[in-house]
Structures are given as structure tokens and as C-alpha cells.
């Protein structure tokens, strides 16, 4: 049976926004691991390891949140313009 358009109630834009909820988890993990790791390396070199790790982890979280925010706001902008372009139903 061939799928009809009515079988897909969710638009592509909505889909990518819901995908974002899952992606933010992987950003947060990546942010904490990557920048926490850099903090750990700097700590190995300069001393004050725990301070560097803490700073790295916080920077990682901030960047991950910023990335999530930037992506979602870009998506919303995208959706609004494409909605405006659509002819009225």
C-alpha cells in the first residue's frame, strides 16, 4: 500500500524540533566530556587540577546549552518563513 500524505501528520520541521530534545542530551554529554577533558589536561600541566576540571565542565555545559538554543531558534525561524510562503488553505 502506498503511503498517502495524510498518513504523515507531522511536518519535517516539527520532526527536527523533537529530534532536538534527544540531541541536547548528547550535546551536554559531549560538552562535559570534551571541555572537562581539556580542563583535566590543563590541570595536569599547570596544577590546580580540580579547579580546571570544574571550569571546563561548566564551560562545556554553557556551550552545549548555547548550541541547543542556537539550533532551536534557527529551526523556528526556518519554520516561520516557510509557513509564510505557503498559500492560505
Amino acid at each position: 500500500m502506498k503511503a498517502r500524505d495524510t498518513d504523515f501528520p507531522i511536518s519535517d520541521a516539527d520532526r527536527s524540533t523533537s529530534d532536538m530534545a534527544w540531541r541536547s542530551v548528547s550535546y551536554l554529554t559531549a560538552g562535559i566530556l570534551f571541555y572537562g577533558g581539556i580542563g583535566w589536561l590543563l590541570g595536569q600541566y599547570f596544577g590546580h587540577k580540580s579547579a580546571f576540571i570544574a571550569a571546563g565542565v561548566i564551560i562545556g555545559i554553557v556551550l552545549a546549552l548555547y548550541l541547543t538554543y542556537a539550533r532551536v531558534s534557527f529551526m523556528e525561524r526556518d519554520t516561520t518563513t516557510s509557513d509564510l510562503r505557503k498559500p492560505p488553505q
Binding site: I10, W22, A70, F74
Partner: protein
């Protein structure tokens, strides 16, 4: 040390003077069965036997359901159709979209294999969730990982797939230095790692919790008020937790499959 030894050989009991024998991670490392097949000596663990059994159950079910499909479905066929429609409508079409239909077999196999494997944690006699052995979620995740990386490279181009992911839209160019590592690490490392660990840890924790209260019910059982009440409570909690665990088992299988669909969908549609 498994549940049987805790309960019988050690026979730790409220009145026997030894402390509560709290089950630990050792209950997941069962003694493997040894087997000689065609002159080769093999060691087979319980989780492998259960996984093979589950694969057989799932395959038999879907073959039986689809073998004699009729326009007016029999009871068995309509159960099979509901199962198929659930994967197609709730996961494939909803998450991937129009191209979703061709991934229904893959997603369906994943969902039902994982779900029944998890369910083995509460099936009497089996009582071991296969996915609480880390190797199983890791193997499944590797399959998913290879699939979505391949699909991404195929649909977006081998280099485009990585550059599309590495340079997120809507971000000032200067931020790329800080954010690109996160995007790439997220795509290639944390996605598969979190997907595998989420399934493994949920099954591990649930099984440990149920075991703890089961052992507790035995440990406390004695002819005293504390013993009787404590044991009854512990047993009651075990029953409630088993119900809750069955819900979690289905949920985790669903989440694993949903994430697979999300990742496949992400590989098919490039973001711009």
C-alpha cells in the same frame, strides 16, 4: 554468587547473626555452561542462550503471523498486524517521515528483540534481562551506528555528512571553534555511547533492585512481628517493582528504537 547461593548455601537470615547479604554486580556474572560441540569445548553464558531463544521466539512469531495472511485476519494475524502498525505509524512514519516505511523491518526487529530480551528479566525460570550484559546493547548500538553513518554518507555525500554536522546553522562563525568539537563528538561518540548505556543501565538497575527486595523478603522471614511485617512488605515491594520493571522494559525498548529512527532520520535529511 547468584540468588540460589544467597538463599541456600550462605543461608543468611535475620536470626542467624550475619548481616543482610545485599546482592551486588556479581549476580550478573553467572557461571557459564560448558558444552562440547563437534569436538570443540564451548562455554555458553545464560545471556547468550536467552538471546538465541528470544531471536527464535520473535522469528517464529512473525513467520507464523505472516505465513497465511488473509484479507479477514485471524486473531494471531491481527496481533501481528497491530505490532507492525505500531512500529510503522508510531516510530517510522512519525520520526523518519515518508522514507520511513523501508526501515520498518529493521526498527521492528530491533524493538521486538530488545523488548522480549528485557522481558526475560521477569519471566520465571529465565529471570535474567539479556540487555543487562553490556555486550548486547553495545552490539545493537554498533549496528545502528554503522547504519546511520552509512546512510548519512550515502544521502548527503561522504564529506558533506560530516561538514553538515560539524558546522551548525544559525551560529556565528567565530563560535565554530568552540562548538564544532561538540557537534562531532556528539555525532560520533556520545550518541552511540549514551544509546547503549541507557538501555544497559536501566536493565541492570531494575534487575538489581528486584533482586535486593527478593533477597530481603527471604532474609527477614521469621516468626516475629518485625520478621513477618518486614518480609511481607519486602515481598509486596518486589511484586510492585516487577510490574514497574515490565513497564520500563517496554519503554526502554521503545526509546532505543525511537532513537534509532531519530538518528536514521537525521542522516536522511540534511540540515541547512
Amino acid at each position: 554468587m547468584n540468588l540460589a547461593t544467597i538463599a541456600t548455601e550462605d543461608a543468611c537470615h535475620l536470626n542467624s547473626g550475619c548481616g543482610f547479604p545485599a546482592p551486588n554486580a556479581e549476580i550478573f556474572f553467572l557461571e557459564p555452561y560448558s558444552l562440547t560441540l563437534f569436538g570443540h569445548h564451548l562455554l555458553i553464558s545464560k545471556s547468550i542462550i536467552l538471546a538465541l531463544l528470544v531471536a527464535l521466539i520473535v522469528i517464529t512469531f512473525f513467520v507464523a503471523v505472516s505465513r497465511s495472511s488473509k484479507l479477514v485476519p485471524s486473531k494471531l494475524q491481527s496481533i501481528g498486524e497491530q505490532a507492525y502498525l505500531f512500529i510503522r505509524d508510531q516510530i517510522a512514519r512519525e520520526v523518519i517521515g515518508k522514507e520511513g516505511d523501508k526501515f520498518v523491518p529493521f526498527l521492528g526487529s530491533l524493538f521486538f528483540f530488545i523488548w522480549i530480551c528485557n522481558l526475560m528479566g521477569v519471566v520465571p525460570g529465565a529471570q535474567f534481562p539479556v540487555m543487562s550484559s553490556l555486550a548486547f546493547p553495545v552490539a545493537l548500538t554498533l549496528m545502528v551506528y554503522i547504519t546511520y553513518v552509512y546512510l548519512g554518507m550515502k544521502h548527503q555525500g561522504p564529506i558533506k555528512f560530516f561538514t553538515n554536522a560539524a558546522f551548525p546553522p544559525g551560529v556565528p562563525k567565530a563560535m565554530y571553534v568552540l562548538l564544532t568539537p561538540l557537534e562531532l563528538l556528539g555525532l560520533l561518540v556520545t550518541r552511540p555511547v549514551t544509546q547503549a548505556i541507557r538501555l544497559f543501565a536501566n536493565m541492570f538497575a531494575g534487575h538489581l533492585l528486584i533482586t535486593t527486595f527478593t533477597v530481603g523478603a527471604y532474609y527477614l522471614l521469621s516468626p516475629s512481628i518485625i520478621g513477618a511485617l518486614g518480609s511481607a512488605t519486602s515481598f509486596g515491594v518486589t511484586v510492585v517493582l516487577t510490574g514497574f520493571e515490565m513497564f520500563i522494559q517496554g519503554l526502554q525498548a521503545f526509546i532505543f528504537t525511537l532513537l534509532t529512527a531519530v538518528y536514521i532520520g537525521g542522516s536522511l535529511h540534511a540540515e541547512h
